[in-house]
C-alpha cells in the first residue's frame, strides 16, 4: 500500500515539478560528462592537462554543496506545499515513521529516475565535451559511444551524497512533526504583507550606497595592495543583504503611496504582486542572486580566457616558425618535410639589429600608456630589430597581404596596432632618424598581424624593414623559417615534427636562461626552436582546463538558480489563476491579461539577476583587466574593446540558458480557463 502510494505520489510530483527534475537530470548529465573526462584516455594524452582532474574534483565538490542546497530547498518547498496532504495521512492513521518512509521512497524514486535520465544525456554530453576539447587542441574527433563505469560510479557517489543529505533533514522533521503543525503549516509561514517603513527605506538607501561604494572600490582601486578588492567585496555583500531585505518596503513607500504612479498603465497589480512575492522570498532571492553572480563571473572569466587564447593564437600569423640563434640556420629539412607532409609554403630569413634603441623606447612608452609595466627584456630585443625588405615582401605574400611597392632606399616599420601612433610620431618628430644609413619613409608604418605580440617572432612589438643592402652591415640576432600550412597542425603533428627533425625542441616561453651581460634569453645550446601559432595554442592546455571547469561551474550554478526561480513562479499558479479570474470578472480583457502575466514573470526573473549582473560586472572588469595585463603586453585591441567582446559573449551565453528557463516557465504556466 505504502509503495503504491509512493509510486503514485512520485508520478504526480514528477509532472508538477518537471523543471526541477529536468534540472536534476541535467546536473547528473554534466557531472557524468565532466567526470568522464577524468577517466578518458584521449584527454589524458593531451598536453598540459595534468591540472584538469584536480580542477574538476574541486568544481564537483562546490557543485555538491550548491546542488545539495537546491535539492534540500526544493524538497522542503514541495513538502510545505503538501503539508495538508501529509496531515490527512496522519489523520488516516499512518504513523509519522511510516510517513517519513513514504517520503523517503518517493524522493529516492524521483532521484533514481533523474539519475538514470541524466546518465543517458550525460553519455551524449560527454561526447560533445570531448569533441570540443579535442577541437581546442586541433585534434580530430571520431564519434564513439562509450560508457565509463568509473565516471558513472563517481557521479552516483556525488548524487547519493547530495540526495541523502537533503532527504535526511526532511525525514527527521516529518518524524517529529505534529498533526496540527502540518494542517496549518502554510498559514504559519505566511509573512505579513509589507508596508513602507522609514527604517526599511533607510536600509535600502544604505545598501545602495554600499553597492555603489563597492563598485567604485573595485573599479578605481584607490587604496591598492588588494585592500580595494576586500573592501569592495565586503561592501557588495552588505549591498546584497540590505537590498533584498529592504527593497519590498522601499518600493512600497516609494510607489505604493503614490496614486499618480501606481494607478497608471496597469501598474497596480504587477507592482503589488511583485512586492508581496519578494517580501516572502527575500532570502531565497538573495541566494539566487549570489548563484547568478557566481555563474556570470565564472562564465565571464572563462569567456575572457577563451578570447585571450584565441587572439593570441591569431596574432601568431604563421602556422610554424623555426628559430635559430645567432646565425643563419639550415632549415632545408623543415622546408622539405612541411612541404611534403602539410603542403606548406615557407621562407627563411634573418632578424638583425642595428644596435640602436629609438623604437624600443616607443615600445616601452606604449606598454606604460596601456597601463602595464614593461616586462624584463630578452637579450635579443634590447636593441631595435630589423629585417630585409625582400624578406618582408615575401612574408607578406605568404600571408596573403596586399602587395606593397617599397622604395629600396627607405626604411619602413611593421608593428602591432597599439604602437603605430607612437612610431609615426617618432618618425615625424625626430628629423634625421635613420637606420643603417637609410631614412624612414613618411607614410611607412604597417600594422597587419605579423607574429609580433609574443617575443621571438618577427621582432617583439615592431620590426624595422630596411633595404637589403643595410642588413649586410648589421648583426644577425636569430634566423627564422616561417611557414603557412594548408590546415592547422595538431599537437601530435607538432610532436612528430620535433621528433623527425633532429636537434629541434619546442620554444618554451616559461624558461629563460641568463646571459653574461645580464639580459636573459630563451635560446640555449645549438638547437632549432619550434614556435608558431599552433605551438602556442598547444601550450595553453592549463588555460583550457580552467576554461572547462569554469564553464562547468557556471552552467550548474545558473541552472540551479533558474530552476528554483521557475519553480517558485510555477508554484504560485493557483494564486495567479484566482487573480486572473477576479480581474476577468472586473473587465480586464485577454490582451491586458497576457501583458500582465508577461510583466509579472519578467519582473521575477529580472529581480535577482540585476544586482547579480552589477556585482559580477564590477568583478569581471577588474579580473579581465588583470588577466589582460598579465597576458598581453601589447593587446591586439584596446583593453576595453576586448573586455566588451568578452562581456557580450558572456551575456549571450548566460541569456541563452536563462532564456530557456524563462520560456519553460512561460509555457508551463497553466492559464486560467476563460469565461
Amino acid at each position: 500500500m505504502l509503495r503504491k502510494l509512493s509510486l503514485r505520489n512520485a508520478k504526480r510530483q514528477f509532472s508538477e515539478y518537471a523543471l526541477f527534475f529536468v534540472t536534476l537530470a541535467c546536473a547528473v548529465a554534466f557531472m557524468y560528462a565532466f567526470n568522464a573526462l577524468l577517466f578518458s584516455d584521449i584527454v589524458k594524452a593531451l598536453p598540459e592537462m595534468e591540472i584538469l582532474p584536480y580542477l574538476i574534483i574541486t568544481a564537483s565538490a562546490l557543485i555538491i554543496l550548491i546542488m545539495g542546497w537546491m535539492i534540500g530547498y526544493m524538497i522542503h518547498y514541495m513538502l510545505k506545499r503538501r503539508s495538508r496532504e501529509f496531515g490527512i495521512y496522519l489523520m488516516s492513521g499512518i504513523p509519522n515513521r511510516k510517513l517519513a518512509t513514504l517520503l523517503f521512497y518517493e524522493n529516492c524514486l524521483i532521484g533514481l529516475i533523474a539519475f538514470g535520465l541524466g546518465l543517458v544525456f550525460g553519455m551524449l554530453f560527454s561526447q560533445i565535451l570531448e569533441a570540443v576539447l579535442l577541437n581546442l587542441f586541433g585534434l580530430p574527433y571520431t564519434l564513439h559511444f562509450g560508457f565509463s563505469v568509473s565516471a558513472a560510479g563517481l557521479t552516483f557517489l556525488y548524487f547519493t551524497v547530495m540526495m541523502l543529505s537533503s532527504i535526511s533533514r526532511d525525514r527527521k522533521w516529518i518524524r517529529r512533526v505534529q498533526l496540527r503543525e502540518l494542517l496549518y503549516y502554510d498559514r504559519r509561514n505566511e509573512k505579513a504583507v509589507v508596508s513602507g517603513g522609514k527604517a526599511a527605506c533607510l536600509l535600502f538607501g544604505l545598501s545602495v550606497l554600499a553597492g555603489c561604494g563597492g563598485c567604485l572600490f573595485l573599479a578605481l582601486q584607490p587604496i591598492g595592495d588588494g585592500y580595494d578588492v576586500l573592501c569592495g567585496t565586503v561592501l557588495l555583500l552588505l549591498f546584497l543583504f540590505g537590498f533584498f531585505k529592504s527593497v519590498p518596503a522601499y518600493l512600497c513607500a516609494r510607489f505604493g503611496n503614490s496614486p499618480a504612479w501606481k494607478y497608471k498603465k496597469h501598474r497596480l497589480v504587477p507592482l503589488r504582486g511583485f512586492i508581496a512575492k519578494i517580501n516572502s522570498t527575500s532570502t531565497v532571492m538573495g541566494v539566487l542572486s549570489i548563484l547568478f553572480m557566481l555563474a556570470f563571473t565564472f562564465l565571464g572569466i572563462g569567456s575572457m580566457i577563451g578570447l585571450m587564447v584565441t587572439k593570441n593564437v591569431e596574432s601568431g600569423a604563421f602556422d610554424v616558425m623555426i628559430l635559430h640563434s645567432g646565425e643563419m640556420g639550415d632549415f632545408s629539412r623543415f622546408d622539405s618535410l612541411l612541404r611534403q607532409e602539410y603542403a606548406a609554403d615557407g621562407h627563411h630569413y634573418g632578424i638583425y639589429t642595428n644596435g640602436e634603441t629609438d623604437f624600443r623606447i616607443v615600445r616601452e612608452q606604449t606598454v606604460i600608456e596601456a597601463g602595464r609595466e614593461p616586462s624584463l627584456l630578452f637579450a635579443e630585443f634590447e636593441y631595435d630589430t630589423c629585417m630585409a625588405q625582400s624578406d618582408y615582401l615575401t612574408l607578406r605574400e605568404l600571408l596573403g597581404y596586399e602587395h606593397l611597392e617599397l622604395e629600396p632606399s627607405l626604411c619602413y616599420v611593421h608593428c602591432v596596432p597599439t604602437m603605430a601612433e607612437g612610431v609615426r610620431t617618432l618618425i615625424e618628430g625626430q628629423s634625421g632618424l635613420e637606420c643603417g644609413g637609410y631614412a624612414f619613409a613618411d607614410d611607412g608604418v604597417f600594422t597587419e598581424v605579423f607574429g609580433q605580440v609574443n617575443e621571438y617572432g618577427n621582432g617583439y612589438g615592431y620590426i624595422l624593414v630596411v633595404p637589403d643592402s643595410a642588413v649586410k652591415e648589421m648583426k644577425l640576432v636569430y634566423s627564422v623559417y616561417a611557414a603557412v600550412t594548408e590546415k592547422p597542425l595538431n599537437t601530435a603533428e607538432l610532436e612528430q615534427l620535433t621528433s623527425l627533425c633532429e636537434n629541434t625542441v619546442s620554444l618554451d616561453r616559461g624558461i629563460a636562461k641568463s646571459n653574461f651581460d645580464g639580459a636573459p634569453t630563451l635560446f640555449y645550446g645549438d638547437w632549432d626552436f619550434l614556435s608558431g601559432k599552433w605551438m602556442d595554442k598547444a601550450g595553453y592546455g592549463y588555460l583550457y582546463a580552467m576554461l572547462i571547469c569554469l564553464i562547468y561551474l557556471a552552467l550548474v550554478l545558473e541552472m540551479t538558480g533558474a530552476a528554483i526561480l521557475a519553480t517558485q513562479v510555477l508554484g504560485d499558479w493557483q494564486e495567479k489563476q484566482r487573480q486572473e479570474r477576479i480581474l476577468r470578472q472586473l473587465g480586464m480583457d485577454a490582451r491586458m491579461m497576457s501583458g500582465l502575466r508577461h510583466r509579472q514573470l519578467a519582473q521575477l526573473f529580472l529581480f535577482p539577476l540585476i544586482p547579480a549582473l552589477i556585482i559580477s560586472g564590477s568583478f569581471l572588469l577588474i579580473c579581465d583587466q588583470k588577466m589582460l595585463f598579465g597576458f598581453f603586453e601589447f593587446p591586439p585591441a584596446a583593453d576595453i574593446v576586448l573586455i566588451g567582446q568578452s562581456f557580450a559573449v558572456t551575456l549571450l551565453l548566460f541569456s541563452l540558458l536563462y532564456g530557456v528557463y524563462y520560456a519553460a516557465a512561460r509555457i508551463s504556466f497553466p492559464l486560467s480557463p476563460s469565461g
Binding site: V193, K264, R272, Q579, I582, L586, G587, G675
Partner: protein, 258 residues
C-alpha cells in the same frame, strides 16, 4: 418608487440552460423569464441546485445560455463575445461574491480602485471616487490595510465598494453574506439597501437566507430551474416580509429557513 411604465433594465426571456452530454442532459434552467426595473433590489431564492447561481452566471456573462435571450438596457448580452465581454463587464456589471474575491496583495483602497484602473480612469479621479465610496460604506479607516488585516465584514464592504465604484447598471451579489457573522451580515445588507434607495442602484442578489432576502424589494423563488413564485415587499415592514418569505419557503419544501 419605480414606475411600471419605464422599459425594464434587465429582460430575461425564456432562457434555458443544459449541462452534460447529449445522452445525460441536466436542465439547470427551464424557460425562465422575468424583468428587472432600474433601481430595483431583487433577490433570487431557492434550494440548493435550484439554478440560482446558474441564472446569475448567465446574466453576468460568466456562463452562456442554451436558449433564450437576456437584454440589459436593450442590449442582447447572450451574443456578446471575445473582447466585448470584458468591456461589457467593466462598464455595466458589478460583482459581489461570498468569498469576497479581493486580491490579498492589494490594500483595500487599491482593491476598490482596481476596476477603475482597468478602465483607464485618471489617477486623481480614481482617488476621489475611492475615498467617496469608502466614506459612504464606512471603511475609510481601513483603506490602507490589506485584506488579511481586516474583518470579514470590512472585506465584504470593500468588495461591495469595488462593485459599485464604476457606477454599473446592474450589481450582482452571489450569497454576499455567506461567509459573514450575523452582525456583519446585517451591516452589509443595510449598506446595500441604503445604496439602493439613495443612489438608485439596481441590485440582483442570490441567497438562500430568508433574513438576507427580506432586505430586497422583490423575491423570485426558483425550484428545479423554473420560477416557482414571486413576492413583493411593497409597503410591508421587513419583519412581515420576512415571515412571508418563510411561508413561501415552507411551500417550496426546500432549505430550512434561517
Amino acid at each position: 418608487m419605480i414606475s411600471a411604465q419605464t422599459p425594464p433594465l434587465l429582460h430575461v426571456e425564456h432562457i434555458e440552460k443544459y449541462y452534460g452530454s447529449p445522452g445525460a442532459l441536466t436542465k439547470a434552467l427551464d424557460d425562465v423569464s422575468f424583468t428587472v426595473q432600474a433601481g430595483e433590489f431583487i433577490s433570487i431564492m431557492g434550494a440548493s441546485g435550484s439554478g440560482k447561481t446558474t441564472l446569475l452566471n448567465c446574466i453576468s456573462t460568466i456562463d452562456t445560455v442554451s436558449a433564450g435571450h437576456i437584454l440589459l438596457d436593450g442590449q442582447e448580452i447572450t451574443t456578446i463575445g471575445g473582447e466585448e465581454i470584458a468591456a461589457f463587464r467593466r462598464d455595466c456589471l458589478g460583482f459581489v461574491f461570498q468569498d469576497f474575491n479581493l486580491l490579498d496583495t492589494l490594500t483595500l483602497e487599491e482593491n476598490i480602485a482596481l476596476p477603475l484602473t482597468i478602465g483607464g480612469i485618471l489617477p486623481e479621479e480614481i482617488d476621489r471616487r475611492v475615498h467617496e465610496i469608502a466614506e459612504k460604506l464606512d471603511i475609510s479607516d481601513t483603506l490602507q490595510k490589506f485584506p488579511t488585516q481586516v474583518s470579514g465584514g470590512q472585506k465584504q464592504r470593500c468588495a461591495f465598494a469595488r462593485a459599485v465604484v464604476c457606477d454599473p447598471k446592474l450589481i450582482m451579489a452571489d450569497e454576499p453574506t455567506g461567509a459573514l457573522d450575523s452582525h456583519a451580515s446585517r451591516v452589509l445588507l443595510e449598506v446595500m439597501s441604503t445604496y439602493n434607495q439613495e443612489m438608485g442602484a439596481t441590485i440582483l442578489m442570490v441567497t438562500h437566507d430568508a433574513f438576507c432576502a427580506s432586505f430586497a424589494g422583490r423575491i423570485l423563488f426558483l425550484k428545479d430551474g423554473r420560477i416557482f413564485n414571486e413576492i413583493y415587499k411593497g409597503e410591508k415592514s421587513r419583519s412581515t416580509f420576512y415571515h412571508e418569505i418563510l411561508d413561501v419557503l415552507s411551500l417550496l419544501g426546500g432549505d430550512a429557513p434561517c
